[in-house]
Symmetry: C2
Subunit: 204 residues, 2 copies
């Protein structure tokens, strides 16, 4: 069964829903998932390694890769590009490993366009009230900014329609268990594995 | 989230693959699954209860239900009808419980026609050799009968194409874990639950 290709899983959801926490807990448990390494034009910090923390590129290199459709998604923050290189993802999948991407809703929509065979998981707040609390409790933001982020979050929730699965983040452990079930069951989908099974029978 | 409808899961696969054993082990663990109660025209035995072991009907009643498309599948063995009543399945799903059906491949294909929104799981032998061993080790059958059953099993495996998931029955516990993951993840599919999530938000 090991000539099966890996699957790209994309975890996304509104700001403040807890994507990062869920992803970290999942990676503590699921040792055979590969985290997608991003590409950036920002300077490498002394503690960082190329190909481990990021792939570091010049702005010219990055823009050439954008032109060649070599990024599954990208965005610009504070004059630096950040993106997900298609090549790294495809090579990792070809080796039979799953790739896991935790990403903002806008980026996830780009990935969906460029890589529709991915499995898209939407992390959902237990309630809008709870999402508001989480955004407010970050504490560093003015009331106006909080209101803007909430409006943004409501819009992001509308994008749920484009996803394959919805997981409510009521408790981190529950959300992680559900994502693990999704990962396992996606590997059991007939259209992914029928070829491998036919090989088993022909080998008899 | 409890106004969510239940899901019909159908476990099938070739004769000798171990469907019954897997189903029993699953039911020891998964207490909130409802086993589908069959309908039959055979006589009720003293130890049996109507609506528990079977729904008991006369041949005339059963044939009338067939004509009204009230059976998701049915077959005749030794002059008696056996089948899966649509009404019981639909009422159980409407109450929010999942229904689990363990059934021969021919019957599963009838269910698929009558209830395409079900989730169809194909239990797969670890190898044809192993399937042969299991059929031979039943011990009660002549060599000719064994060969016939093996040919039948090969044909049944062709029908895998109509299923949503394939689970290899290499070890009963592994197969059961995989089926549990399928059950959990199917409840997380966006198209099933988006309405419930919209309600959560409107309630805020």
């Amino acid at each position: 069964m090991k000539d099966e290709k890996g699957i790209l899983f994309v975890l996304s959801g509104p700001s403040g829903v807890g994507k990062g926490t869920v992803r970290k807990r999942l990676f503590e448990k699921a040792t055979d998932l590969k985290y997608s390494i991003s590409m950036t034009t920002r300077n490498r910090r002394p503690s960082e390694k190329d190909g481990v923390d990021y792939f570091y590129k010049s702005t010219e290199e990055f823009e050439a890769l954008i032109a060649q459709n070599e990024l599954l998604e990208y965005a610009k923050y504070v004059n630096n590009y950040y993106g997900t290189p298609r090549k790294y993802v495809e090579e990792t999948l070809a080796k039979g490993s799953d790739v896991f991407l935790e990403i903002e809703v806008q980026g996830a929509m780009q990935v969906k366009q460029n890589f529709p065979e991915g499995v898209f998981i939407f992390l959902f707040p237990p309630s809008l009230e709870e999402l508001k609390n989480r955004i407010v409790n970050r504490g560093t933001e003015s009331e106006e900014l909080v209101l803007n982020r909430l409006k943004e979050a409501s819009k992001e929730i509308e994008m749920m329609e484009a996803y394959d699965y919805v997981v409510v983040n009521d408790q981190v452990d529950h959300a992680v268990e559900k994502i693990e079930a999704i990962i396992l069951s996606e590997h059991l989908r007939r259209e992914r594995i029928a070829k491998q099974y036919k090989k088993i029978l022909e080998a008899d």
